[in-house]
């Protein structure tokens, strides 16, 4: 018996819809569990106090601040390098074996497991350059990890600015750099920012790269300089879950909720910036 084309279409649509639902389900379940089990732990003290009793009580303030410092350090290092590299690749570099090699390197960089970045960061920044386990080493390691994300997003944003805009500017005798600075960059900015924030939110959640380069097991005070170690949320969560006995589930889930909330806020910013810029976009 042949299936009528209408029935075939219905079957196809239900499979497609099912696939879409399967994507949403884990997100909803994760959030539901985190909120249900973690929300009771969250209060003002939990967010702003130092941990006590071997992290079984008190707050997670140093871990929150540590993650924020690491994120800021990563932005400061990765954003300029990433954007400048993307400008070079899109606007200046000619297509030859050298630029192809750079592009292959970027793709491969994106595929390196994060724990390898951790070991690399320890070898280069902590030991060889003698920065020690510090915010500096951690930020640099995270920066290298998210550079491919920023470069790829920036390249796409730059290439999406129509070539005709560049020609209109160049045809007036405006130099290439001024054309990039005043015509290309302003129009590529939303894409660059979105890519950067997504990269940063990934950096905020990673454990392996900071494991050997910055994260402190237990440090109930704030770092004083970029050469100090600090606590960080992902590593703190790992410690609470596996290294410290008798930690209440409430504290573990509360920490996880704060971490996910932080990443969520960053992603939310990316979406807001993108839609705001898109509404202002005129072409």
């Amino acid at each position: 018996m042949r299936i009528s084309s209408k029935t075939a279409q219905k079957i196809a649509f239900s499979f497609l819809g099912l696939a879409a639902v399967i994507v949403i389900v884990p997100v909803i379940v994760i959030f539901a569990i985190l909120i249900q089990k973690g929300l009771p732990a969250i209060n003002w003290q939990f967010l702003t106090a130092m941990p006590r009793m071997g992290m079984r009580a008190g707050g997670i303030f140093p871990a929150i601040m540590g993650t924020i410092y690491l994120v800021l350090g990563t932005i400061v290092v990765a954003l300029p390098i990433g954007v400048l590299a993307a400008i070079y690749l899109v606007e200046y570099a000619r297509r030859n074996w050298w630029t192809r090699m750079i592009e292959v390197a970027i793709v491969n960089l994106a595929g390196v497991p994060s724990v390898v970045y951790g070991l690399f960061g320890m070898g280069l920044f902590v030991i060889f350059l003698k920065f020690g386990a510090s915010i500096l080493s951690g930020s640099l390691t995270l920066s290298i990890m998210i550079l491919p994300v920023i470069i790829t997003a920036s390249k796409e944003a730059l290439s999406s600015v129509p070539r005709s805009f560049r020609e209109a500017s160049l045809a007036l005798g405006v130099s290439k750099w001024q054309t990039i600075r005043y015509v290309v960059l302003p129009n590529a900015l939303p894409g660059i920012l979105t890519g950067t924030i997504l990269g940063i939110s990934r950096a905020a959640g990673e454990t392996a790269p900071i494991l050997f380069t910055v994260a402190a097991f237990y440090l109930p005070r704030l770092p004083k300089s970029i050469f100090d170690q600090c606590m960080a949320l992902p590593y703190h969560l790992y410690v609470l879950s596996t290294q410290v006995p008798n930690v209440s589930q409430k504290v573990q889930y509360g920490t996880a909720l704060v971490l996910v909330g932080l990443v969520f806020i960053l992603n939310f910013f990316a979406v807001v910036i993108r839609s705001y810029m898109r509404s202002k976009k005129q072409w």
């Binding site: 000619r94 005709s164 020609e167 209109a168 007036l172 005798g173």
Partner: protein, 285 residues
């Protein structure tokens, strides 16, 4: 497509340029003598894109303050020639140019840098290309990048340029609104105004009216006539009638060769080459 004022202006220019083919003659009356000097001299110009030869050993000159119409079917090399004039061809990776183009006697490829050439020889593109910013900022863009900071001066330049391109009256009350909201014809005149703001000597038009309706086209042509007194203009067009209306002289390109260049009257009434005759009478192209 009636353009009453321009036509009288054209006859004016046309009678003068009848003699334009012979430099330095006929300047006896009250005519401006510089009108008959060569603004641009093209010598043995060949352009290759990779293995394709877009322009084959072309030589001719463009007189000061004339409108040179350039006609020819697709792939005839007319756009390549135009893009060579302000060195936009430099942006293509695989171009190879032989021969020379002289602007005021200076070789634009060897004795001038690209920015200097493009500032003096600006281009209006086929599609109107306003930058995604306000009308004011579009016009002020060139002068600002070339170092004019003074706000009063910029406002003066904007007003002067918009007036010269016949756009001022239509936009003077909304200079701060986006240039993207203007109609196609207004955008194209905005682009002309934007090129005028950098005070060029030569204006190149690459089929500037191909996307415009007849009335907008007439307004753009009107602007070209007004600009004749101060600028040398080269108009590449697919519209043979437009070349006849606007051009003092007209050049006919075919397959990368310059077939014929003459005053508009002569080229359209008594072409020397049969291929020109075939093209303008619509037998091909």
């Amino acid at each position: 497509m009636n353009t009453p004022t321009p036509i009288s202006a054209q006859q004016d220019g046309g009678s003068a340029s009848l003699l334009g083919g012979l430099p330095h003659q006929g300047g006896g009356r009250n005519e401006d003598l510089t009108r008959f000097t060569d603004k641009i001299v093209v010598e043995n110009l060949s352009i290759h894109y990779g293995s394709v030869e877009a322009l084959k050993n072309v030589s001719f000159s463009v007189k000061n303050h004339e409108i040179l119409g350039v006609i020819g079917p697709a792939n005839s090399g007319k756009t390549s020639f135009l893009r060579a004039m302000n060195r936009l061809n430099d942006l293509e990776i695989a171009t190879h140019t032989e021969g020379s183009i002289y602007l005021n006697g200076k070789d634009i490829n060897r004795e001038m840098d690209a920015e200097e050439v493009r500032k003096k020889v600006t281009m209006v593109f086929a599609l109107p290309l306003p930058l995604p910013m306000s009308i004011f900022d579009n016009i002020a863009y060139g002068p600002r990048r070339h170092g004019t900071k003074d706000k009063k001066k910029l406002a003066e330049i904007v007003e002067k340029s918009l007036k010269a391109a016949f756009l001022w009256d239509e936009v003077k009350d909304r200079l701060s609104s986006s240039a993207m909201k203007l109609s196609g014809g207004q955008q194209q005149r905005l682009c002309i105004a934007r090129t005028l703001a950098v005070e060029p000597e030569v204006i190149l038009y690459d089929e500037p009216c191909s996307g415009l309706d007849p009335i907008s086209t007439a307004r753009v042509e009107e602007a070209m006539f007004e600009l004749k007194s101060r600028y040398t203009q080269i108009l590449v067009t697919n519209n043979v009638k437009q070349a006849a209306r606007v051009g003092d002289r007209v050049a006919f390109f075919l397959m990368g060769e310059l077939v014929e260049i003459d005053t508009a009257d002569k080229l359209f009434t008594a072409p020397k080459d049969k291929r020109t005759d075939d093209y303008i009478t619509g037998r091909f192209g």
